[in-house]
């Protein structure tokens, strides 16, 4: 029974004891305090080292990025006037954190699809690059975890946030990224990537900055709360078991059809062959059987 675990889901409606609210409040307070203590010194430090960080970022940028994006992040066009590397003025730290942090940048070659590769820079280097690009022009900053976590909410608020996030997800995201977030095809060989199992920060940054072909979901029209809810929904379905069995990659009816043919019909035809196949025969005959045969 080691494999078996009861998930304590659904903390909100039926399983609330009198103590639960109190305990949860304690936890919430504890968590808030921890997060605060973890974050505040970093901010203080940041103020002193900003200039250093930008300088370090510029060094890295000149080596790794300027070939496509220009020496000052002004962008490059090729001889046909096509975008070789887009300008980075005003894309903000969030865009850099997403592109470099997920291994999409630096790209092997310019193209509309930026395939995800191994991350080329360390966390500090990514932060330095982000600080440098942010210094080029005003743009979205890297979201803090407070922006996309449900910490400090009551269970009921969390529940509502998840449900609302699901609806926002279905209205805005599933068209490209599919109902399970397993990705989908886009015109001319492009594709919307799989977004399950991606760090919440990067999901937030993707919505905020619109990497590559993805449209931006700006804070004005899709509020930070809405983005937080989408992330909460994705986390929530990540925690769910696969209720009906193996999920076939979440590709829907095409994968199901393949299983019906290869698995179902394949197995059943195999059984049919077995049923009609002749069983082992023997050349030996018992006396009785031999006599019967002659008769």
């Amino acid at each position: 029974m080691r494999l078996l675990n009861r998930t304590a889901r659904r903390v909100s409606r039926h399983r609330r004891s009198r103590l639960a609210g109190f305990v949860l409040m304690l936890f919430a307070l504890l968590a808030t305090g921890t997060v605060y203590s973890a974050l505040s010194p970093a901010q203080a430090e940041q103020a002193t080292s900003d200039a250093e960080l930008v300088a370090k970022g510029r060094d890295l940028f000149l080596v790794g990025c300027s070939y496509c994006h220009g020496q000052n992040g002004e962008g490059q066009r090729d001889q046909n006037g096509q975008n070789f590397g887009p300008p980075l003025v005003g894309v903000g730290a969030a865009a850099v954190d997403f592109q470099v942090g997920t291994g999409r940048m630096p790209m092997a070659q310019p193209g509309q699809q930026a395939p995800q590769k191994e991350v080329a820079y360390s966390d500090e280097e990514v932060a330095a690059l982000a600080a440098y690009v942010a210094s080029l022009g005003v743009g979205p900053a890297i979201p803090s975890s407070a922006q996309y976590s449900l910490e400090g909410m009551t269970d009921e608020e969390k529940q509502e946030a998840i449900v609302r996030g699901g609806q926002i997800f279905l209205a805005n995201c599933t068209a490209c990224h599919n109902f399970e977030g397993s990705g989908g095809a886009m015109p001319r060989g492009g594709h919307a990537p799989k977004i399950r199992g991606v760090e919440p920060k990067y999901i937030y940054e993707a919505m905020l900055t619109g990497p590559q072909q993805m449209p931006t979901f700006s804070e004005g029209t899709m509020t930070p709360e809405a983005k937080r809810d989408v992330i909460a929904y994705l986390n929530s379905i990540d925690e769910n078991p696969s209720y009906g069995g193996f999920g076939l990659g979440g590709y829907g009816p095409v994968a199901e059809g393949m299983v019906a043919w290869l698995g179902g019909i394949g197995a059943l035809v195999g059984f049919a062959v077995w049923i009609a196949a002749h069983t082992t025969r023997t050349t030996r005959k018992t006396k009785a059987a031999a006599g019967e045969d002659q008769a």
Partner: protein
């Protein structure tokens, strides 16, 4: 050898009665199975089959146990990341059924008398006598009824039967109302604000960045009447969404190629199009910010939003209808009017009604 001569020869050869090259040797002698002659093998097979049936019984016990042991609903038990109840019930049920099936077939294959037997076929047609009898009987019946002699009765009966056939068709008329001009109208009216789908908030052009996409709805879908009831509820809401859903995109004003007479339909580079595909009506919002193309996930029609949503690829034949935008006093995006054409898939009289309809 030319084809013709081959053909002729073959034809001749075939028409002549040709002796079969090899005569039918008749059924081969029966060959025995080990279980027929070896009592030990027979016993083994018997035990094997009975074992399968016992296994089936155990599976049913397992099914019953799983039914009560594993929780669903609020405290869903899981096994290795899968729903425990469904998995256990299915595996035990499947195991029981498969064991019964395999056991029965093993019984037939290994132990049942397996001498093939022969049955003769009979031609499908009835004998001539039977046919004659039936024809005679039918003629007699027709004669007795006098159907040939009384054309008045025959014809009126046929007429009545034909007319009765109309009644079910007529009765189906109330399946639904006539289309009227409802396909030409959507909830959009002059001055209606554009709301963000799901959230229901109004939009200022400045809220959007270049490359932004907003899935929008007419604001009336989120409004209430004097009694505090939503204006659209249930089926009305679904119908309204099926026609009123829009996508808003913002692009560099320089990238936009304005359609004829559509120069003032955009506000600050924000364009608004129907979200309903003109092919068969799927909602469509797979937007590529750099190419300004939007793709339909159902049949892959691709539209260029920078150029009046012209079709650039796929089976759709018409551009997405564009919603003319303006700003209200508070700086929020509003519609100048309803769509000037019917949204969604094509239909026969689509080009006819707009003049009288709107």
């Amino acid at each position: 050898m030319s084809d013709d001569t081959t053909l002729e020869k073959r034809h001749d050869a075939a028409s002549a009665v040709v002796e079969e090259p090899i005569a039918n040797p008749g059924l081969p002698a029966h060959v025995y199975r080990p279980t027929d002659i070896d009592p030990a093998a027979e016993k083994r097979a018997e035990r094997q089959i009975a074992g399968l049936f016992v296994f089936a019984m155990l599976c049913v016990v397992g099914f019953a146990v799983s039914y009560f042991v594993f929780d669903i609903a609020d405290n869903h038990d899981t096994v290795g990341g899968l729903g425990a109840s469904t998995l256990a019930l299915g595996l035990t049920l499947g195991g029981a059924l498969l064991a019964i099936g395999i056991g029965m077939i093993q019984w037939a294959r290994k132990l049942m008398n397996d001498h093939e037997i022969v049955e003769m076929r009979h031609p499908g047609r009835s004998s001539d006598e039977d046919r004659e009898k039936v024809v005679a009987d039918v003629l007699q019946g027709a004669e007795d009824s006098g159907i040939a002699r009384r054309p008045l009765i025959r014809n009126t009966l046929l007429g009545a039967l034909g007319l009765v056939g109309i009644t079910p068709v007529l009765a189906l008329r109330d399946l639904g109302p006539l289309p009227g001009d409802s396909l030409y109208h959507t909830p959009w009216t002059e001055g209606m604000r554009v709301a963000v789908d799901v959230l229901g908030t109004p939009i200022r052009p400045a809220d959007m960045e270049i490359g932004s996409l907003v899935n929008g709805q007419p604001m009336s879908l989120y409004e209430e009447n004097e009694e505090g009831e939503p204006l659209y509820e249930g089926v009305d809401l679904q119908v309204a969404k099926s026609k009123g859903s829009v996508i808003l995109v913002k692009m560099e004003p320089g990238d936009i190629i304005h359609g004829k007479g559509r120069d003032n339909w955009t506000v600050d580079g924000v364009l608004c199009y129907s979200k309903i595909c003109t092919h068969v009506g799927c909602p469509i919002s797979l937007y590529e910010r750099t190419t300004h193309h939007v793709l339909c996930p159902c049949h892959q029609s691709t539209f260029d939003l920078a150029d009046s949503a012209k079709v650039v690829f796929g089976p759709a034949a018409r551009p997405l209808p564009q919603l003319p935008l303006a700003l209200d006093d508070e700086g929020y995006l509003i519609a100048q009017s309803d769509f000037i054409e019917a949204v969604g898939p094509s239909f026969w009289e689509r080009d006819t009604l707009p003049e009288d309809g709107s």
